[in-house]
Symmetry: C2
Subunit: 521 residues, 2 copies
């Protein structure tokens, strides 16, 4: 045995050298992709323009419209073809925040750190603060006729804990082993919104009261966040959808916890508190349609088949959507750029067509990706997220790669329960073991656009990423800004994803699929 090994290595070496003399082999492709992805990276330039210059990209907003136009041009500029906006319907109106300020006036002045929830109606005025503290529908009665012109606190104090643990983290061997040992995931039940029927009835009655009373604003302090970091997303209504045209939406403000608690503590001490607000916004886009951004690198012998890759491009409005999901969007645009540079350098063309998609409406329910899949690959069920039947073009999509878990580099990939793809991805990760990416997890990840593909029987994947500060500080917060992107991590992610796209394009077979009960139309 000992004597055989050197001979074998010698033989492999010969093959490798002879391959280099013809066309780049797989190892060379990885090297070339790494050169363009790591040494010549442009991911941070893309991300800076996307977040710093274009800013927030709330679906339906002017910000997203401008960002879509920029992406369409930028994808052409980097060398993609057929770059275009592809419309989808039924989102509802958009919302542009045009001015926001809030201050305490009494007992003493201070400027308040707060943000309106998206789709809040405009509001302006000065008034006192009351705490709406009702545990039953009957208790709501005492607030009737008393909330107009007031600021209404909706929540009790939340205690703030000092950060004796790091708020930013990377995976360690323990957490990776746990992922690697994950068993076949159980199809998740759609989570029902909080609590029991009584609680739901109280909530509905509370919001009906608020919509009747029309306070200056309701105030809350979000479930997490401190020290100036505020987590804020969309406004709610008693019933229906805040995106319906002409619908009045109670102005809903989320305050920095320190400012919320300060107001609450003063009320507890019977100190009257007076605030002033000027929150202005425009409802936009009354026809309610939106666009995804789509572009391609054409394939050759298998050009009717596609490899798709994408990320949601829309964001919430208080930050600039840097880690949610400027990072994923910039990485996917950069992956396309890396592949184009690799094609130029090697002269090797992709076999399948490579198609990028920057989705919109993800934050409100994966709308962009579901509408896209619903148009091209499957017919949606009448209600909910489910798919009823499959279209013929579903067969042409070999796979879809998504990124939407922040700025952290890739430590591996979730198989989304697709065991058959495991040996393939294991092989593809080999050139990136030196970059810490080697874990294969049978587990799935939820809550983002690969699900639209997965539910239509198309292999759709997310990667295992370093958590960094995603869940603790940036995801849906006012501090989701460029400064919390980690450049080296994004370079690594773009490089690995480019390689996965390339390999999916070049293999003879499509990626193996999970069994499905869905039928073709």
């Amino acid at each position: 045995m000992k004597q055989i090994l050197p001979l074998l290595v010698g033989a492999l070496l010969t093959i490798s050298i002879s391959a280099q003399n013809k066309t780049p082999d797989e190892k060379d492709i990885a090297t070339i992709i790494k050169k363009h992805g790591i040494d010549n990276s442009q991911v941070m330039e893309i991300a800076s323009y996307m977040t710093d210059v274009l800013g927030q990209r709330l679906t339906g907003s002017t910000g997203l419209k401008n960002a879509n136009n920029w992406a369409e041009s930028k994808l052409t500029e980097i060398g993609m073809e057929n770059s275009h906006l592809e419309a989808w319907e039924g989102f509802g109106r958009g919302w542009d925040m045009t001015h926001f300020e809030m201050h305490a006036k009494a007992p003493t002045y201070w400027p308040i750190i707060a943000y309106p929830k998206a789709w809040s109606s405009s509001t302006k005025g000065t008034g006192d603060v009351v705490y709406l503290n009702a545990t039953t529908i009957d208790e709501l009665d005492k607030y009737k006729g008393k909330l107009s012109g007031k600021f209404v606190l909706l929540e009790d104090i939340r205690e703030v804990e000092e950060a004796f643990e790091p708020t930013a983290k990377r995976h360690d061997s323990e957490s990776l082993v746990k992922l690697a040992n994950a068993t076949q995931p159980i199809p998740s039940q759609r989570r029902r919104r909080g609590g029991n029927a009584d609680a739901a009835a109280l909530r509905a009655a509370t919001w009906e009261l608020l919509e009747t009373e029309k306070p200056l604003a309701t105030l809350d302090r979000s479930r997490k966040g401190d020290l100036g970091t505020v987590f804020v997303s969309g406004a709610r209504t008693a019933e229906g959808n805040a995106r319906e045209n002409d619908k009045y939406v109670v102005p809903q403000m989320t305050l920095a916890i320190e400012h919320y608690n300060r107001i609450f503590r003063m009320l507890e001490q019977d100190i009257p508190v007076t605030l002033t607000i000027d929150s202005q916004s425009n409802y936009t886009n009354p026809e309610g349609n939106e666009n995804n951004v789509i572009a391609e690198i054409p394939g050759t012998d298998l050009k009717d088949e596609v490899v798709m890759f994408g990320a949601h491009y829309d964001s919430w409005h208080a930050g600039t959507g840097a880690t949610d999901n400027g990072s994923g969007s910039a990485v996917m645009m950069e992956a396309a750029r890396i592949l184009i540079e690799t094609i130029k350098e090697t002269g090797i063309q992709p076999r399948r067509t490579l198609r990028i998609a920057l989705w919109t409406g993800e934050e409100q329910g994966l709308f962009g990706s579901r509408k896209y899949v619903g148009k091209h690959f499957a017919t949606a069920a009448e209600s909910g997220f489910a798919v009823a039947s499959l279209k013929e073009d579903q067969k042409k999509v070999s796979g879809y790669f998504n990124m939407d878990n922040g700025t952290g580099k890739i430590r591996g990939v979730y198989l989304q329960g697709n065991q058959a793809v495991s040996p393939i991805f294991r092989e593809w990760l080999k050139p990136f073991h030196e970059m810490d990416a080697s874990t294969i997890s049978l587990s799935n990840t939820g809550g983002t656009d690969h699900l639209a593909f997965d539910m239509a029987g198309i292999p759709g994947f997310q990667f295992i990423q370093e958590p960094i500060s995603y869940s603790t500080k940036t995801h849906h917060s006012n501090m989701d800004n460029f400064d919390h992107l980690v450049g080296d991590d994004l370079k690594q992610a773009a490089t690995i994803i480019a390689y996965f796209i390339w390999q999916t394009s070049q293999r003879d077979e499509q990626l193996p699929r999970k069994a499905t009960d869905l039928k073709y139309e």
Copy 2:
């Protein structure tokens, strides 16, 4: 040996019991003080009113004036005598922030988290942003005539690091042993303000230019802080003092780092940035005098001697001065309350007079404490912090205890180089070993009011405190708010300090003093 020990313990036990039958011994006093300080604490109620209700307490501001009046009443209410405001002169005008808002208008709207530096002149308007990037005085020429109506960036980008280490900390045995092993401190040289003569000349020329040009505002991003935490103190001038009446002070704004960097990165990409600001403030108190708050618990047989304890009460303006130094002020007020309750319960009167001082003007140079010491105990040198000679009453102050290092509980005490006091304090800490306070450090701490006493030859001390989030998050920041006070820590601190005051009052001798070259007048 083995047989002797039980006998000895037995003997000690007998003495202890017999002492209990007469008057409370030292151990009992500690127990009673702990009961009032820990079980019946009011420190968080005091701190909440001081920070939440009274708010910022910038020296010279209406906020501090109101806070002084409240403290004067509150000290009477808890049972102190002779509570009064004691004036000191020469501070200069005060400054009340009455309105602040700042927004980006182009290329896209967002509300900016920022604060004016204290004593900034009011400013209102909309304008473009320029980066003042001069490394020599000659290079300033190109900005002449071009800064009026503009926002002027003064600093390069500061890279933001994610928090892979905790931002809040407690001492561990390693850091305490280091403190315990500290050697005799070397008298510190007064630190000279940054750099060489060229740098100083450039700074002066820059501020002269800015005072001539009168931009809408200068913008900086402070040395530390991120994620919505902004560190901001006082405005600067080319020469002289921003507190001089009628002096124009360039409006100087400190921005959240993410917002500052975002603007800077856009300028780097040649994207014009337009901001709008409305920063309004009133200059107050043109006569320029201030007050410390003083109150006493009268002594008995040694009533002409005093034990002093205090903390600076003034704060910066962007937060509510919770850890700097609402914590110290509330703890000292609470220590007084604990002692009064202890006196009521035991019937034992203090021998020396116990005098609390809530100092003002600390943030601008320990003015309140230095002026107080200069009036009663020593004559100040003509310039600088030094003392020229001592007054007779200096002999009557046994010691001064100060607290000004945030919310952390006490782990021990700094001897401030006073070795002779070591065995005394070591004994006094014994009842608090169970509360983690046991370290004696020969080292000194600087930068706060005990120095005024120390320099006049009066034993002045600060305690070793847990760091918590003081230097990383709250000290001089907009997030120095009540929520970052740790209640259990403050209770412990008030309890231990009450006991130290009591022991200083009751011992036959005054506390030993360090040798001094100063002469009595």
